[in-house]
């Protein structure tokens, strides 16, 4: 043990911490991070803790929350048939998105490829619905789905087929979810396609050409070369699509308000109804927390499981 050295070390440390450069850097780090942390804590983290507190109360938003009910709200949510129906609908939309919307987007992206003439044109058109607001999208499609053939374009086309009657679409319990899914796909497939196209841009053409020279046909090349190389993009779009489907609100609320008879109820419309229509803020907080838990569990699990070797990183 060298005492003198032990004494010198703190001195050195003192010197380092007091050197003007260090102080300045620390000050800069503090000041630069301050706004981000303040806003993030105040408007995202703190609200969640507030919601945890209020979820334990039966509270209608007037005055302070006094009726403590413990975990009763959660018990009620998890035994409510309507909420179960909402979760079921969310899962159905997730499955449909993963099974239809994403493969369609991927297929179109590969079809447009890198150098199809007119590529920028198709990209601009396909991406346009994403830029339109959900309100506008919903209003446009409510018109298209109108049960009256004089007003709804889809029915106007349908009645041209002999033997087919006008459909109720958004007013029909068995059709409404399919209609919602069609609108969701119309609006969002362009986003996924865009991401796949950007991913394709990062794959060197030579790799696919090499596979072709080795005798692979077009389909084999796509299956065994292109899609694996797009792995990280596909994983990202799956995450985006699942989170988006689980929490979709605007389109469904405007088009159907969760109806008819809860047929298109999803978790967020259920939450909105209780929190902002019936003003049961305690119960609403509990619903929000259940949704948050579902999203977090999915995100964390997915990010854990899907962390596969990144093929492109190795190129």
């Amino acid at each position: 043990m060298n005492i003198s050295q032990g004494r010198r070390d703190p001195l050195k440390w003192q010197q380092r911490i007091n050197s003007p450069r260090r102080v300045q850097d620390h000050l800069a780090i503090f000041l630069f991070l301050l706004p981000a942390f303040v806003i993030f804590l105040l408007f995202i983290i703190y609200p969640i803790f507030r919601a945890v507190y209020f979820s334990l109360f039966n509270w209608n938003g007037m005055g302070p929350a006094t009726v403590f009910v413990g975990l009763n709200n959660f018990k009620q949510i998890l035994t409510d048939q309507v909420f179960m129906k909402a979760i079921g609908n969310c899962l159905l939309i997730v499955i449909l998105s993963l099974a239809i919307q994403l493969p369609l987007a991927l297929m179109l992206a590969i079809m447009v490829g890198r150098d199809l003439p007119g590529r920028p044109f198709f990209r601009a058109i396909f991406f346009m619905p994403y830029v339109l607001s959900e309100v506008i999208t919903a209003i446009i499609w409510m018109g298209l789905f109108s049960p009256d053939p004089e007003r709804g374009f889809i029915n106007a086309l349908l009645v041209l087929i002999p033997g087919v009657h006008a459909q109720n679409f958004l007013g029909d319990m068995n059709q409404v979810l399919a209609c919602v899914f069609i609108v969701l796909s119309w609006k969002y497939f362009g986003l996924h396609m865009l991401l796949y196209m950007a991913g394709l841009q990062n794959i060197p053409k030579e790799i696919e050409e090499a596979a072709m020279i080795d005798g692979a046909n077009r389909w084999q090349t796509v299956r065994n070369v292109t899609i694996p190389l797009l792995g990280s993009t596909i994983r990202t779009t799956i995450l985006l699509s699942v989170l988006g489907s689980l929490t979709q609100f605007n389109l469904i609320w405007i088009m159907t308000r969760g109806g008819p008879v809860n047929a298109s109820e999803v978790m967020s419309t259920y939450m909105y109804r209780y929190a902002f229509i019936r003003f049961q803020l305690g119960y609403g907080s509990a619903v929000a927390l259940v949704m948050l838990a579902i999203c977090l569990v999915f995100s964390v699990m997915y990010l854990r499981l899907a962390r596969q070797p990144d093929y492109l990183g190795g190129i």
Partner: protein
């Protein structure tokens, strides 16, 4: 002769998939465009024409619906509110994210990874999930019915993703530039302000354009925070207008067209920035 035949066959073999490709792409293009075109055509018809022949071309075009909308003061106040919110949120996101990303890309300190991961927590859940808790806090702060609250909430939810994009870009700027600027007497802020930000202009434009679109189209935050109709933003106002005038389809169509117009024009001009912002975020994330 044989050679010519092979050539011909090759040409057909090449052209057939091409034809098929364009066929599929054209059908999808139609599916995308027809709904939009129907509503624009509807806006150019009178209420009566909308009933008698809803799917024909609007000839002659009637611009009265647009005039009616443009003459209502509430449309202009919605437009103004939307603009204020959009500019505020975009400025907020740009300032907050570029400051934080600079630190995460360029400085070393204890707990850096932890701090960064904490700020990217927002990527794990969309705004819909947190809107109810956010409402409670905004109410507690007495910020209900203020545009400022909408701006702050939108900024908060823009932090995670945009910070990730910007940090990636800042990291790619060579360290030598920073050393050189320090030797020349710059401090951390000077380097950030005079060298890093000007170099990062494309990245800033990308996240700026993206934030503008997201803010412009946001319905949920204003819906929950703004009750007074003089504060409504365009999406909120469009939704209410549709409910109120659902019998006058032509007028609704005109309102929808007018409120979509700014976004579409902006998209046509800033497509490159929006696209690069989106792809940078998703490919890095």
């Amino acid at each position: 002769m044989v050679i010519v035949n092979i050539h011909k066959r090759n040409a057909i073999k090449k052209k057939l998939p091409r034809f098929f490709q364009y066929l599929v792409l054209s059908i999808i293009t139609l599916i995308i465009l027809v709904p939009i075109v129907i509503i624009v055509f509807g806006a150019l018809k009178t209420r009566g024409e909308m009933f008698t022949h809803p799917y024909t071309l609007p000839i002659p075009a009637h611009w009265e619906n647009f005039a009616v909308i443009l003459n209502t003061p509430s449309f202009w106040s919605m437009l103004r509110n939307s603009l204020i919110v959009m500019l505020g949120s975009t400025a907020g996101v740009l300032i907050v994210c570029s400051l934080a990303s600079f630190i995460f890309a360029r400085m070393q300190f204890r707990g850096k990874d932890l701090a960064f991961n904490f700020l990217t927590l927002g990527l794990m859940f969309p705004i819909t999930v947190a809107i109810m808790p956010v409402y409670l806090v905004v109410r507690q702060m007495h910020l209900i019915d203020t545009l400022l609250a909408v701006i702050l909430v939108q900024t908060a939810f823009g932090i995670s993703g945009n910070m990730l994009i910007l940090r990636g870009f800042f990291t790619s700027i060579p360290m030598e530039l920073q050393d050189a600027s320090y030797i020349d007497g710059c401090n951390a802020f000077g380097f950030f302000w005079r060298i890093l930000l000007p170099l990062a202009r494309p990245a800033l434009a990308a996240i700026g354009a993206l934030t503008m679109i997201v803010s412009w189209n946001d319905l949920l935050t204003p819906l929950v925070i703004l009750n007074r109709d003089t504060l409504w933003t365009l999406p909120l106002g469009t939704m209410q207008f549709q409910g109120q005038y659902s019998s006058d389809l032509a007028l609704t169509a005109a309102f929808v067209t007018l409120s979509a117009l700014p976004a579409i024009i902006f998209y046509l001009f800033a497509e490159r920035q929006i696209v690069s912002g989106l792809t940078a975020g998703a490919l890095k994330g």
